[in-house]
Amino acid sequence: MYTELAIGLVMGFGMIGPGIGIGFLVGKALEAIGRNPEAISKIQTNMILGLAFTEAIAIYALVFALILKFVQ
């Protein structure tokens, strides 16, 4: 019973940080593109790389939730 609660808490709290992070990242990238539209390709590649790292933190929470759910 507590496992389900734990899964919910892991997912809920684990998504807060990456959500804020992705928001900041994309916001800043868009700002940079707005300031310097010629650098769009460089900014985009680096943004996507950064997104992958930020997303990975959410994925850690997801992995823990999946382990809690599917491993006895």
Binding site: A56, I59, Y60, F70, Q72
Partner: protein, 314 residues
């Protein structure tokens, strides 16, 4: 509905070679490795530097390798290091990419066989691991007949009729078979198994130490045992911890992304099977490419950090 899904966090045994259990993820990894090796052998046999007009395949591979050479040159800033790191980068990148994309091929993870506990010998540990997710999947399809059989069985037993021995045995055998029958796919994306990703991560981090020793000698290990002053001692403990944490973050990032992608596709496919999974397929193809690139790039970044001397910083 949810109980129909077949989701297993660990790879499952397909067959055994003596004492060695061959799991479905290792089977896929071996296939992918074989494909990559054969592909590169074919390309290298086609490549002739003296030819005036290069073969189209040679052209594609040269273009690819040049692109990655420039990418790594941008990280290391040293042609000698780039030539050393490029093979590692390409190997990691292509292996992970091929594995990620192999998991998206229709049929991988859905074509398999049912195995009963009594049918073939099963390692006890593996069986215990597998039982939970698959029991769910098995009950969904077999619940109705199993329950009927169970009822019949109980009835017969309470009546204690000696003449109906044949039916009793059948009824007893059926629920037993249905409850322990498990679905095992033949293939599973290699990177959707934590064992593969941990192996890749350990290899990378050991390679980082090797490159550190190669470029800085044994003095490289000073950063892990720094006794000059208490602060540096504390920093060296942190360095050691971060080296271990890198293995975890490497392996969990890749495994989590690919496994979560598979779960996502399974769930979306079970909710709306027709057109809805298509954009998610596109997303997974993209994620597979990005994760392969991130893994390989990070490895090269750590190689470069290890090869650069720390003396300038202090």
């Amino acid at each position: 509905m949810a109980s129909e899904l077949h989701i297993s966090i660990s790879a499952e045994r397909v067959f055994s070679l003596g004492p060695l259990n061959i799991s479905n993820s290792i089977l896929t990894s071996l296939m992918v490795s074989a494909l990559l090796i054969i592909g590169f052998l074919v390309v290298s046999s086609l490549a002739r530097p003296s030819m005036k007009k290069p073969h189209p395949l040679q052209n594609i591979f040269e273009y690819m390798i040049q692109g990655f050479y420039r990418l790594i040159q941008g990280i290391t800033g040293d042609h000698k290091k780039t030539r050393l790191f490029l093979p590692f980068f390409m190997t990691f990148f292509l292996f992970i990419l091929a594995n990620n994309w192999f998991g998206l091929v229709p049929g991988v993870g859905t074509i398999g066989f049912r195995e009963t506990e009594t049918g073939t010998e099963q390692m006890v540990l593996l069986q215990h691991e597998i039982k939970t997710p698959v029991a769910l999947a098995a009950t969904a399809t077999a619940q109705a007949p199993a329950e009927e059989a169970q009822l019949e069985n109980n009835l017969v037993e309470t009546e204690d009729a000696g003449g109906e021995l044949g039916i009793t045995e059948e009824a007893q055998a059926n629920p037993e078979e249905h409850q322990t029958s498990i679905f095992i796919p033949y293939f599973r994306a290699g990177t959707a198994d934590l064992n593969t990703t941990i192996a890749l991560a350990l290899f990378t981090m050991i390679m980082v130490q090797v490159i550190g020793v190669k470029y800085q000698g044994l003095g490289y290990f000073k950063k892990f045992f720094d006794l000059r002053n208490p602060i540096m001692f504390f920093v060296s403990i942190l360095e050691t911890v971060s080296e271990v944490a890198k293995v975890l973050s490497f392996s969990f990032r890749l495994f989590g992304n690919i496994f979560a992608g598979e779960v996502l596709l399974v769930v979306v496919g079970s909710l709306i099977p027709l057109i809805a999974p298509m954009p998610f397929y596109g997303l997974e193809i993209f994620v597979g490419l990005i994760q392969a690139l991130v893994f390989a790039m990070l490895a090269v970044v750590f190689f470069t950090q290890a090869s650069a001397s720390h003396e300038g910083e202090h």
